[in-house]
């Protein structure tokens, strides 16, 4: 009598436990890469920045130098390194590039511009370029702003968003020491060739992980996407 009771109780318990587990037995595995493709935009995955630069004060085995800047051209996705002075002289003052990745971890991004003195394209060919920050998700930006907005924009550098007025693309947390792209920041750009584009900077960590779980996750490896309206109009619809 009692024995069957015990068995019944055990069975019930076991069933309960098993049921509870099957309900919840799936791991976190978001696939972020797939959702970036929309058929129109160009998605750049893991574009390596300068991974050889010094990262610490007192570290052995590394030459302490600042990060090398690289340039990026939208039309053919070409990455142009400025390793030497000759490189700089050859490319900086031309209209042959659209973005420059500068500063620590190549995280400070400039749009080629001749007017701002710290822009790599200063006194170069890109006379009429500008950036406008739109606090919208990338896919919801369907139209470039009016030219007057571009003309009045004071955005020079897109980097660490460390203050309210900063148009930066990422936030660096002092508690976790991890940089995180701010969602819903889309940059509308008037390019050196006069065409309009939109840009979303997505990640600086290798593999574009949904969350960085290691302090030493390799960086900078840029994931970003952009769309250039080839016909010169302001339509930026990528849906």
């Amino acid at each position: 009598m009692t024995k069957t009771k015990i068995i019944k109780k055990w069975h019930f318990l076991l069933l309960m436990i098993i049921a509870m587990n099957f309900i919840a037995c799936s791991s976190n595995d978001e696939n972020t890469g797939a959702s970036l493709q929309d058929g129109k935009s160009i998605v750049i995955n893991d574009l390596a920045g300068d991974t050889g630069a010094a990262m610490g004060d007192a570290t052995e085995g590394k030459v302490q130098r600042s990060f090398h800047t690289f340039l990026f051209r939208f039309s053919d996705q070409k990455q142009i390194w400025l390793h030497t002075k000759a490189d700089s002289l050859q490319y900086m003052k031309t209209a042959d590039w659209d973005l420059a990745f500068t500063g620590p971890y190549n995280s400070e991004v400039f749009v080629n511009n001749a007017k701002y003195q710290y822009n790599p394209g200063y006194e170069g060919a890109a006379q009429n370029t500008a950036v406008v920050l739109l606090n919208e998700t990338y896919q919801n930006v369907t139209q470039a702003p009016a030219d007057s907005e571009f003309d009045n924009s004071e955005i020079t550098k897109i980097g660490w968003s460390s203050s309210e007025s900063s148009p930066g693309w990422f936030y660096y947390s002092l508690s976790s020491h991890i940089m995180q792209a701010i969602p819903d920041r889309t940059y509308a750009i008037r390019l050196p060739n006069g065409k309009y584009a939109k840009l979303q900077l997505i990640n600086a960590y290798k593999g574009n992980p949904p969350a960085v779980t290691d302090l030493n996750w390799p960086a900078p490896y840029f994931t970003f996407r952009y769309y250039v309206q080839a016909d010169g109009s302001k339509s930026l619809n990528t849906k």
Binding site: T2, I6, K9, L13, L14, I17, M20, N21, F22, I23, A24, C25, S26, S27, N28, D29, G52, A54, M55, G56, D57, T59, E60, G61, K62, Q64, P104, Y105, N135, E136, T137, Q139, S161, S162, S163, E164, F170, Y171, Y172, S173, L174, S175, S176, H177, I178, M179, Q180, P183, D184, K206, G207, P209, P210, A211, V212, T213, D214, L215, N216, W217
Partner: protein, 797 residues
């Protein structure tokens, strides 16, 4: 050279065990205790008499008589329990001379057991300290040796994460090895870890990695949830975990055990205990070796391990010697060494090598003297040392990412007195001091930390239905000043089946070396952190060197040299219901208020846009919630228990900042699904990172005596909790990164053979192999097979 000395010490240990083995056969058992139990002249039968620390127990006969024989010399505690009466406790020392029969008068009332959720046996106090968890105004959970053995866990973190309201959390910002314990919403930096009542040191970013500690030689774990600085001083701001090592040898015995299984885990223990020198002394020694391959929870992005592989060696010993009839000398020591090398391959030849060598030493000497049966003194000295040699390097170009050698030493001396008037009140008072030194490459201008403390603790039963505990402790720290921490708790026995409990306590944590003296520059992110105490001179120096573009004078004036201790106040109240001997249910609410939490704030901007931070106090954070515990024994030898915790942990300054529209809190929140955005409201604040709203556990322990089989199944649930901020507004809202809720199921099966000398155990942890990349430290399924053999003299009865 090193190998030879290691070999020699191993030889010594082996010799020690051999000596011990022989002494097992020779032990003397010649003492007897007997007595009569009464209640107002009537004898009480069926009272249960337990003699601790022996395993002997007896039931009084119809005349109230009981007797024990075959006890070796030593100090014992006799505990008598009987339904409807208060527990009777008496300490007795046996030294070969005949003891007069005891005459025991029982007082009516129900037993005054502590909150005792997991323990199956009575509370044994640590003989080397008079400050005990019994004086805590905050709830105490006790996990005893039997439970630990039955669970089949190997490391301390594995035991604790199965307790209600306790979680083991990885601190990503502290590196891959920064793992700590969280309790009722308090982070690891606020939980003090003690060994035999003495604080353990060695933290990584405030986190104490409990996997450093093997459970093999633990007698009992006492957990206090809530502010307990009135018992243990600074650091016990949110609670304490006190590990009581094996002690109180009665019969010589020895145990060897070995487990092996998944992840190439090896857990090998050799331990022994014996009386010595005509039973005037007792000694216990244990050696443990543990290794694991580590585990990877993020194989999509990382090859290698996310939870480190390591080899751990530990040696532990404890001895007590009776100097004369009323004095004991105690000696205990523990040494741990952990070597770990962890590789991670992030693809494209990015292989990081993360090396850590840790050493850990705890030594203590105590002198215990009883002036008379009521008045007792313990004089103690304690030394602990911790060192960690850590480095992370990229292997393909042999370049170091970080490198640090960290050393911490603590000396502590204490004098304790206790006075008790049998069952009506007990009083403990003490005075002491400590000197602490820390060496770290990144610290500037560090002096040693000197602390002085003094306290009074007590327990008082003014009348039968009411028991009260209270304490007052004063701590003085040289770089911070003094602080007084009171606590008060009571238990009111409304009926024999219903008890009401309430308590209030305070806690504090003096600012540590880092927040005061650290000067750290991160060149990759171009920021500088300056410790509060060295802020003004450092900024002055930087200004002279032309490296400052702006100083936020208001913040500088407010913060510099003005870092306050972090403080907490805990309130707890609850009911215990015991409708029958086999059913117990407890519920309690808790409210912890933490003020002056230390956090970073920007104080200046350097040239080249360098941001300069220092540490400041934040106004207030609150952890509140409730806990439920249930214990039920439907059959003999079967125990079902369940626990639940509901928790809300919020930083009130975040709410204020949202309300005030302060950047970056004021940024619009975007719904990623729709792309809609809206201005944040205080109600959008979810709570502090890593805290789950819901946590629950349930377990069944069963022993089938005819087959000598012990089995248990445990299920632990942890509700979803925030991992980190995704949208840059510096607070957690529902669109941030969360760790999904999950269940972990563990089970263990043990079969005892050869008159309980031999046991074979099968352990399965995380049976359903649940892992999450956001939980780097939680391995998948682990299956282990273990065998252990105990050498002991078979009991006569």
């Amino acid at each position: 050279m090193k190998n030879i000395s290691t070999f020699n010490s191993i030889k010594k240990i082996i010799t020690g065990f051999i000596v011990l083995f022989f002494s097992i056969a020779q032990a003397q058992s010649n003492n007897a205790i007997s007595g009569l139990i009464h209640h107002s002249e009537n004898p009480l039968s069926h009272a249960k008499i337990v003699v601790e620390p022996s395993d002997k127990s007896a039931i009084s006969d119809s005349k109230g008589y009981f007797s024990f024989s075959g006890l070796t010399n030593g100090a014992y505690t006799i505990r008598i329990t009987i339904m409807g009466f208060k527990d009777y406790i008496q300490e007795i020392t046996l030294n070969g001379q005949a003891v007069k029969p005891l005459h025991i008068q029982m007082e009516s009332g129900i037993d005054l057991k502590e909150v005792n959720v997991t323990s199956r046996s009575t509370v044994k106090n640590n003989p080397e300290t008079l400050v005990n968890a019994q004086y805590s105004a905050m709830p105490v959970t006790i996990i005893d040796r039997k439970t630990i053995e039955l669970m089949g866990s190997r490391r301390l973190d594995e035991i604790l994460k199965e307790q209600t309201g306790i979680a083991i959390v990885n601190n990503i910002s502290g590196g891959a090895r920064s793992v700590g314990v969280q309790m009722q919403g308090f982070g690891s930096e606020y939980i003090m870890v003690l060994i035999d009542g003495q604080p353990m040191v060695g933290r990584n970013n405030g986190n104490f990695d409990l996997s450093r500690i093997s459970v093999s030689n633990i007698e009992r774990i006492e957990i206090i949830k809530g502010a307990s600085s009135s018992l243990y001083g600074s650091e016990a701001l949110g609670g304490t975990i006190n590990i009581i090592t094996r002690h109180g040898v009665v019969d010589p015995q020895m145990q060897a055990s070995l487990s092996y299984g998944s992840l190439n885990i090896i857990d090998a223990t050799l331990e022994g205990e014996t009386p010595f020198l005509q039973n005037k002394g007792t000694a216990n020694i244990a050696a443990n070796y543990y290794r694991t391959d580590g585990y990877n929870t993020n194989s999509k992005y990382i090859q290698g391990t996310t939870s480190p592989p390591y080899d751990n060696y530990s040696l532990q010993g404890r001895s007590r010697y009776q100097v004369n009839e009323s004095s004991f000398l105690g000696l205990s020591g523990r040494y741990g060494l952990r070597r770990s090398f962890m590789q991670k391959d992030f693809g494209l030849g990015h292989i990081s090598g993360d090396n850590q060598d840790e050493q850990d030493l705890n030594l203590s000497v105590s002198f215990d003297h009883r002036f008379n049966s009521n008045f007792r003194s313990i004089t103690k000295y304690y030394l602990t040392y911790y060192s960690a040699d850590m480095s992370v390097a990229w292997q393909q170009n042999n370049s170091a990412v970080s490198q640090d050698v960290f050393k911490q030493t603590l000396h502590r001396a204490e004098q304790q007195f206790s006075y008790s008037n049998n069952n009506s009140y007990q009083l403990v008072a003490g005075i002491g001091g400590s000197i602490e030194n820390m060496n770290d490459n990144a610290l500037a201008g560090v002096n040693s930390l000197e602390t002085f403390f003094s306290y009074v603790q007590g327990e008082w039963t003014p009348f039968q239905k009411l028991k009260t505990v209270g304490g007052l402790r004063y701590d003085y720290t040289n770089n911070f000043g003094g602080r007084l921490n009171p606590s008060f708790g009571l238990q009111y026995f409304i009926t024999p089946k219903i008890t009401f409990k309430a308590g209030i306590g305070t806690g504090f944590k003096a600012p540590d070396f880092k927040t005061n003296y650290l000067v750290f520059y991160n060149p990759s992110s171009n920021y500088l952190v300056v410790g509060n105490a060295v802020l003004s001179p450092t900024l002055q120096q930087l200004q002279q060197d032309g490296q400052i573009s702006e100083i936020r004078q208001y913040i500088l004036n407010q913060t510099a040299g003005n870092l306050q201790a972090e403080k907490s106040t805990s309130y707890n109240a609850g009911l215990v219901l015991e409708p029958s001997k086999t059913f117990k249910i407890e519920g309690s609410v808790f409210y912890h208020k933490i003020t002056n939490q230390i956090n970073s704030i920007q104080v200046a901007t350097g040239t080249n846009n360098r941001i300069i931070y220092t540490y400041q106090n934040l106004p207030e954070a609150v952890n509140k919630g409730f806990e439920l515990a249930l214990k039920f024994s439907p059959l003999k030898n079967m125990e079902i228990s369940a626990g639940y915790q509901y928790l809300i942990a919020k930083d009130l300054s975040v709410k204020d900042s949202i309300r005030a529209g302060k950047w970056p809190y004021s940024q619009n929140i975007h719904d990623p699904a729709t792309g809609n955005s809206y201005a944040p409201r205080p109600s959008d604040y979810w709570g502090i990172e890593n805290r789950s709203r819901h946590m629950a556990n349930t377990s069944v322990f069963y022993r089938y005596d005819p087959w000598k089989i012990n089995a248990n199944v445990r299920v632990n649930f942890r509700g979803k909790y925030p991992f980190g901020d995704r949208n840059g507004n510096q607070f957690i809202d529902k669109y941030d990164i969360f760790v999904k809720d999950y269940f972990l199921t563990n089970a263990s099966l043990e079969k005892q053979l050869l008159k309980e000398h031999l046991s074979i155990r099968f352990t399965a942890d995380n049976i359903f192999n649940y892992t999450d990349p956001l939980m780097p430290g939680q391995p998948g399924r682990i299956l282990l097979l273990g065998i252990s053999y105990r050498f002991f003299k078979d009991k006569e009865n």
